[in-house]
Symmetry: C2
Subunit: 256 residues, 2 copies
């Protein structure tokens, strides 16, 4: 049974999509079958893999509204062991449309029953909010990875997010674990980066990944070519750091 | 009558809060009375001015639910001509609570009737989504300023935002103008920054501000001291760029 991991943080621009894309790619080249689900109406993970927006193609909106299953919506990518469930503009309306439906928070969890056995990891890229799309992801997930930009506002928001995770754990998903906090866009020349790192490693009760993602321009260039970093510039520091993260994660959740 | 401006972009981490705080501060030192409204449940604009979270204090949630007016919720700040309506954690629930209420999109617009005449500018910091809080801000606003991080994903999201602005203009707020796109976190050593700038200045139909906000670490340090840049480091490039933006804005909306 694969592990379902939500990549979530309501603070915007902290590296959720960059982490989802590059961790999924790195796990897949370790020959682990991976499914990446783009649960953000912005569709950044979808375009980050070079898939143009196509309203005719099955996407997560169709899955959440019950029009098709995840297996049907999963698209192949340039990487053999990696499939992607694309997002769409329709997802913007999904939050309002789902509010009145039965089991609105469990739609993604129920849809995943069908495919969990086919993948070793399912990663879900979440939007920058704590609305129904993120709640669906947290209800479906075994664990959450929290990308944390090494900046003041990002640190401020961590307690809000953990409160939401607690609420989900008490109600919708008692098994939800915090797999770890991941420091992103770390700049060793910048005092704030070091300040945030020592604050988090010193005070956060759970795991903070050893791997730290550096600020690296190649990571922000790659999506404009529709490729993860390991297909765009495999020798870049950004790519290497996500390969290291994949290795660290495999060490924690040994799934021989 | 003051101009109400929404600082909005559903893409996360593009500099909405940094722009709202520093533009408000810069306008206020030009002796223009300014009201800054924090419409983001993350409360970053509130803590960026050093106001601790205080559930007892009147805030935007109380205003939207009709418990008090904006005048009552407006707090003084260290700057004479600048008042702030703080946000609160309760705003997370406001989106769901407002859905069933009458005139749910016009709550902020109606509340502003009472105070518009007291300020030359009202700035509204929006969350990274196109939900009911942002819709309230766009319905209340005379114009929108779109902070645009000089990165690939941010450019991608611009067309979605402009489509939403069009929808609001057709229905809820026919007078909504796009006051301008503001390039933020611009790094002249980075090819993407230049690429995004020439793409936007070449293709965007509306105004792109002359003023460009550079990436400047002092801007990200200031909020940890609870101060806008002009009270933290007035000689920094970041501070100077927001003073230049304020000047440019005053030149466009001459309000002697
Ligand atoms: N380590 C890094 N070094 C340099 N740039 C980065 C890094 N990680 C992400 N970026 C860039 O920073 C911006 C924000 O990252 P990203 O879009 O992944 O964040 P996000 O949390 O998914 O944002 P949103 O909240 O909008 O979903 C993007 O333009 C991305 O290319
Ligand atoms: N010009 C700049 N130079 C350097 N850092 C900046 C600049 N503008 C903003 N920042 C920093 O980048 C991060 C994102 O900025 P900010 O929080 O203002 O964006 P936002 O759009 O309001 O985010 P959200 O989508 O979460 O509301 C913050 O840590 C901020 O301090
Ligand atoms: Mg994202
Ligand atoms: Mg903000």
């Amino acid at each position: 049974m694969g592990r379902v991991i939500a990549i979530a943080n309501q603070k915007g621009g902290v590296g959720k999509t960059t982490t989802a894309i590059n961790l999924a790619a790195s796990l897949s080249v370790a020959e682990r079958p991976v499914l990446l689900i783009d649960a953000d109406p912005q569709s950044n993970a979808t375009t980050g893999f070079g898939l143009a927006r196509d309203p005719e193609r099955a996407n997560l909106y169709d899955v959440l509204l019950g029009a098709c299953g995840l297996a049907e919506a999963a698209q192949p990518t340039e990487l053999d062991h990696l499939r992607l469930v694309p997002s769409s503009n329709d997802l913007i309306g999904a939050e309002v449309e789902l509010v009145a439906r039965d089991g609105r928070e469990r739609r993604l969890r129920n849809a995943l029953e069908q495919v969990r056995g086919d993948y070793e990891f399912v990663l879900i890229d979440c939007p920058p909010s704590l609305g129904l799309l993120t709640v669906n992801a947290l209800t479906a997930a075994d664990g959450i990875i929290v990308p944390l930009q090494a900046e003041y506002y990002a640190l401020e928001g961590l307690s809000n997010l953990l409160r939401t995770v607690d609420l989900i754990r008490q109600g919708l998903n008692p098994g939800l674990a915090v797999d770890g906090v991941l420091l992103t866009m770390f700049d060793p020349r910048n005092a704030i980066s070091h300040g945030v790192e020592s604050e988090v490693r010193g005070n956060f009760q759970g795991r903070v990944f050893e791997t730290v993602i550096p600020r690296n321009v190649r990571l922000s260039e790659a999506p404009s070519f529709g490729k993860p970093a390991l297909l765009y510039d495999p020798r870049s520091k950004g790519c290497e750091s996500y390969l290291a993260l994949a290795k660290e994660l495999l060490g924690i959740f040994v799934t021989h």
